[in-house]
Symmetry: C2
Subunit: 355 residues, 2 copies
């Protein structure tokens, strides 16, 4: 049985930074929307759906972003554009969806929504091209039955129209509607942290992993990353009587944890890419195995340009700080996804499997 809190306190006391660590608290909604400039919308269909994370800088323009793609079965759009050597620096949205490769169609609906608002990369003549990099995964909660529907243009359009700040609904919604994580129901999770120097880092994950998010005893892999008592339902865990063997379908295009990490700091694409590489470790710590050949695992980072990085100190140190916080917040968002997920006819939730 883990005792994460006491262990954490000992370590932090030894390092003499307990006060600083204690100052790390979740944001107001413990959600990616705690990052100014970020809004989130879901479209939830019968057994699949789409989630969009909209991003804007203080003047409404796009924001720099980065991506890392480590699962062996990626389904992506516009990730090449995000490479630091490529030109466009301004992302307007990140789209996460179920529906495997078919779900990429949702991005076109998000583009329409943004274009109607005049949001996008200007290409002359008053025209804009909304930049909405996308990652989808194969959501299996239909229990191998043919899906009743697929995310499409309308799913993306509706998710975008529904986007708002404030609290974010988690669990069986949006891109997480049909998600599975190992042997239990996956879903959407979100979390945030406010650092003592004012940096805000938030994450939203669509947890649909081939690997399991709990260890052989049934404990959540990422339990020790809790801030305060945000994982309060974990106290319900007793004897793990209903051990659920992780489901390992072993095929490509079958699963995948896709995520968005956002911060209020102004980033370059290179900095955002490095932060993505670090924040991706938050998946590694919360799911085992992660990044399998069958997983789509793709993680995006956005910096909403509210705070200049130079005002925070050495840029590399700030990138390290955001990357570290990003990994932790991704792990926490994965736990939130599991705790918010509800059982379906063929897939128990974590809370039902380990009551």
């Amino acid at each position: 049985m883990r005792a994460p809190h006491s262990r954490t306190v000992v370590l932090l006391s030894l390092a003499g930074i307990a006060a600083a660590a204690a100052a790390q608290t979740p944001g107001q909604n413990n959600a990616i929307t705690d990052v100014p400039g970020i809004s989130v919308g879901h479209f939830t269909g019968a057994d699949t759906g789409t989630t969009v994370v909209l991003a804007a800088n203080p003047t409404g323009g796009g924001v720099a972003g980065g991506v890392t793609q480590r699962g062996g079965s990626p389904v992506t759009r516009e990730t090449d554009l995000m490479r630091p050597d490529n030109m466009v620096e301004t992302m307007n949205a990140i789209v996460l969806s179920g529906g495997s490769t078919f779900g990429l169609a949702a991005a076109s609906g998000v583009m329409r929504c943004l274009e109607d608002r005049g949001v996008g990369f200007p290409v002359g003549g008053g025209n804009v091209v909304p930049i909405a990099p996308t990652a989808t995964s194969f959501d299996r909660a239909t229990c191998n039955a043919p899906p009743a529907s697929r995310p499409d243009f309308t799913s993306g359009l509706q998710a975008c129209l529904a986007a708002s700040g404030g609290p974010v609904v988690q669990g069986n919604v949006g891109a997480g509607t049909g998600a599975v994580s190992g042997g239990v129901k996956g879903g959407i999770g979100t979390a945030s942290v406010v650092l003592p120097n004012g940096i805000v880092v938030g994450a939203l994950v669509s947890l649909n992993s081939e690997g399991a998010p709990y260890d052989s005893g049934g404990d959540l892999m990422a339990a020790s990353f809790e801030l305060g008592n945000e994982f309060n339902p974990l106290t319900r865990i007793g004897g793990h009587r209903f051990r659920v063997p992780p489901s390992l379908p072993g095929g490509a295009l079958r699963s995948g944890t896709n995520a968005v990490v956002a911060t209020n700091v102004t980033l370059t694409k290179s900095q955002a890419t490095k932060i993505a590489e670090m924040a991706d470790d938050g998946i590694s710590r919360a799911v085992n195995p992660a990044h399998t050949p069958g997983d789509s695992d793709t993680l995006f980072v956005l910096g909403t340009a509210q705070v200049a990085i130079d005002t925070l100190g050495d840029a590399n140190a700030v990138v390290t700080q955001i990357g570290t916080a990003g990994a932790n917040v991704v792990s926490r968002a994965i736990v939130h996804a599991l705790l918010a997920a509800r059982s379906t006819s063929c897939q128990p939730s974590y809370c039902d499997a380990f009551p």
Copy 2:
């Protein structure tokens, strides 16, 4: 004034391999469809369109592929999946389209077309996910007027339904409908070569480059790559009286030469990727400047698995041979695109600009 033929003959005679070089001839249609397993379809709209290259191995399954993405304004789908470290080895189609980022929607229509035929990566329950990596570019032949239409789901569906072997229509069709190359009209071009050992290499390009395909005297950059007298209209070039300054819009997401190279050899994803990197030099030699920040330049390679690579000799030597041939055939396809293009109200063709 260039004299490519006499120079070539001298060099080859010195090397004593004139006979081998002479044995390199275009395939029956001088088109990518000369590669067994490849078919091509266009959808041509009012001022933009979509082109699909379908690929199948001898049993109708998908084929391994690779990609290189060197333009600074890429618009892509499923390029991550093509990385050798990722799992899916079987591409079913490559989609090229106009319409910039909006044009990515065409890929969904191609997927529908293929799914209806049962073509795709099997994901259980008899379901398939067609793998159709895609690159689009911004076609500017509307002369900065708003586009009358955009490639969409239907464009991709129609292009796929129209796909066939045999001759390939070139010029102002499909993804090349609204294409521009420097100061002249761009378009679709294709070419092929049959090597003495039976390797067939074909290319299809959507030429929509920021850079110009001709030098300061008006000569085509890639004129010296001619096989036989395939560039016959070039004999029309006289005094270059109508020098057309290359149009360099200098903005991102404005242009891009996207291409598909196919060969009848069985390739791994790693081999296909290396061939893509070599074949991309065919763009460099035919367009100047190439791979600018504003270009989408993305080049795909497919191996249709008709001939085992081991039967042809050392695998690395064969990859080098295909990569070399691929670059040449890309350059030739670019010339074919220019010679087939027709002038529009705002964009002269090469043949009209240099009568």
